[in-house]
């Protein structure tokens, strides 16, 4: 028998739990040559902002042991160009597209939510709260429960689309952040975004990244991501999208057992452009081999 791989996240039906992570899959089209987009559960766009963002100077990326740092600076075409140039492609693909967005003030976030709310091709919104609040001395929304609550609830009131809050791992208490976003009305939580890391070139005596620090991703961060997903799943009722260092179907199943209803593949797509599809296929094979009829029966099935 063919196992049932379908899951439902924030009201969005996914044919399987494998999504692609924001910023690692372009706007979808870039990977069309490598991935059958109708063999994955959903894909998430590059983070979008009101105005086009050109991003940081280079170098923007550096490899670290088992991972990488990026300081792209949220480069994106901006919501207008996205609607004109990228949305038409979404129409051609029968797979839910999630729009990831950010801002530097609550107003910007809300405006983004409004703009995206009216685009039928967008199945849901993922709000990236790992950004500094310029109105509050640059404190990162996602590192303070109150700030997170305010920005998420403001966006909640600005859209009727499913709203997924994406959590930053650079916090003392990930559960407090999760609860704040739940209370603010998020329909689901995705975690984790990148840890903050740094690399140094000892010969130039300079940071490798022009931006000095960068976002840390890849297999190296998996243990932290898995721990946070497990902590949040125990404490919060919302469906969780597990993210962080997922390279294989085994990695993905670890997140599902820890409590994730779906997962996102990020850095892995750089190393293997068809990673997301391969992982979905691998998960299905594992279920078949182990006589598991539905992926849903594995969600949070960890025995502790």
């Amino acid at each position: 028998m063919k196992p049932d791989m379908s899951v439902k996240i924030a009201g969005i039906e996914l044919r399987n739990p494998v999504m692609t992570a924001s910023g690692t899959f372009g706007y979808g089209q870039e990977f069309a040559p490598y991935v059958d987009l109708e063999k994955i559960g959903a894909f998430v766009t590059k983070g979008l902002s009101l105005k086009p963002k050109a991003g940081n100077p280079t170098p923007r990326i550096v490899e670290t042991p088992g991972g990488m740092l990026n300081a792209i600076g949220l480069q994106n075409v901006g919501v207008e160009a996205f609607i004109k140039k990228k949305v038409p492609f979404l129409r051609t693909v029968n797979t839910p597209a999630i729009a990831n967005f950010f801002g530097n003030t609550i107003d910007e976030y809300v405006e983004m939510a409004r703009r995206l709310d009216v685009i039928p091709e967008i199945a849901g919104l993922e709000i990236n709260i790992s950004c500094p609040n310029v109105k509050q001395g640059g404190i990162v929304f996602g590192t303070d429960p109150q700030c997170a609550f305010e920005v998420v609830s403001a966006c909640r009131n600005a859209t009727i689309k499913p709203l997924i809050a994406k959590l930053s791992p650079n916090v003392t208490d990930i559960v407090a952040m999760a609860k704040a976003c739940a209370d603010a009305g998020a329909d689901a939580l995705s975690l984790i975004n990148t840890l903050t890391g740094m690399a140094i070139d000892i010969n130039r005596r300079k940071p490798v990244l022009a931006n000095i620090t960068g976002g840390f991703s890849g297999p190296a961060i998996k243990p932290v991501a898995l721990r946070m997903v497990w902590q949040v799943a125990k404490a919060v009722k919302l469906p969780i999208i597990g993210i962080g260092g997922i390279m294989t179907a085994t990695d993905a199943l670890e997140f599902v057992l820890a409590g994730a209803s779906a997962i996102q593949v990020g850095t892995a797509s750089f190393i293997n452009p068809s990673a997301a599809q391969d992982i979905a296929q691998g998960m299905e094979s594992w279920l078949k081999d182990n006589g598991v009829e539905s992926i849903k029966s594995l969600i949070g099935a960890l025995e502790t």
Binding site: G23, T24, F25, G26, E30, F31, P33, Y34, K46, A54, G55, P57, T58, P59, R60, I61, V62, E63, P65, G66, G67, M68, N70, I72, Q75, G218, P219, A220, M247, T267, S269, F270, I271, N272, P273, S274
Partner: protein, 272 residues
């Protein structure tokens, strides 16, 4: 496209420089000079990221076993500089590699009439050999090869065998003229001659100088850039280079892996 390739040979051609030949799928016949491949060094997570290498040559070989049909191959010429290339140089014939490519936008071959001046610094010669092979079919080709010392001047005999006229310059004078390859280029240009176009690959400093020389003499010029790459397919936006209109206030970045690696010299910002 991603494919699994078998190493046919992997040999050190000059101290610290290796040349690797490996099997390629039939589709690879469509590869353009200036395009590159992303090589996964091993199946482990160290090193994690693929490594980009220009296409040094493509062709076909006939396997030893009887009745074998000619098979396409691909060659890269690489310098051992760090973890990944050290590991690459330790691989043997018959070892397998996971390769993604051909990727990016290659050189425009232009019209046969114009003389082709190709300029390479050190391992920057790698994509120029494949390029020269195409160019000599219609045009007069001159190679300006530069390096710090003689060991950095690679595969000149191969270029000569193509009928390419080679001008060599080394900073320590251990081979060819003492000095920078750009000086050799300038004196050649001042010697005059018909319409010419420049195609260059090498260290950023050299490319910047070449682009300067070209615009000064209002000669068409294409350069092949490097950039730190994670994906090679336009998704990570890690590899960008500043375009002509770039200023810190109004940034203008070009994606090296998809809009490049070959750019027209005038498309780029050379000082910022």
């Amino acid at each position: 496209m991603p494919f699994t390739s078998m190493i046919l040979s992997n040999a050190e051609v000059s101290p610290g420089y290796w040349r690797m030949r490996m099997t390629a799928p039939p589709e690879f016949a469509a590869a353009q000079p200036g395009q590159f491949v992303m090589v996964r060094i091993n199946s482990a997570i160290d090193p994690l990221l693929r490594r980009p290498f220009g296409i040094f040559d493509v062709g076909t070989y006939t396997p030893a076993h009887s009745g074998a049909q000619p098979q396409p191959y691909l060659e890269i010429l690489y310098r051992v500089v760090g973890k990944g290339t050290v590991m690459l140089s330790a691989l043997h014939e018959t070892d397998l590699l996971d390769i993604l490519g051909p990727l990016g936008k290659g050189f425009e071959l232009g019209t046969a009439a114009e003389e082709k001046l190709i300029v390479g610094g050190g391992v920057g010669l790698a994509p120029l050999y494949f390029l020269a092979k195409e160019l000599v079919k219609g045009s007069k080709v001159r190679l300006f090869a530069g390096g710090r010392t003689r060991d950095d001047i690679l595969c000149i005999t191969e270029f000569e065998r193509l009928g390419v006229e080679c001008y060599v310059a080394t900073e320590d004078g251990s081979l060819g003229e003492r000095g920078l390859v750009t000086e050799a280029l300038v004196s050649r240009l001042s010697a005059g001659g018909g319409q010419a176009t420049i195609l260059a690959c090498g260290p950023h400093g050299m490319l910047s100088a070449v682009a300067g020389i070209a615009s000064a003499g209002s000669i068409a010029c294409q350069v092949s850039l490097e950039g730190y790459m994670a994906c090679g397919v336009g998704a990570c936006l890690g590899c960008v280079a500043p375009g002509q209109h770039h200023t810190p206030e109004t940034p203008d970045f070009r994606c090296v892996c998809t809009e490049g690696p070959v750019f027209d010299g005038t498309e780029l910002k050379w000082r910022d």
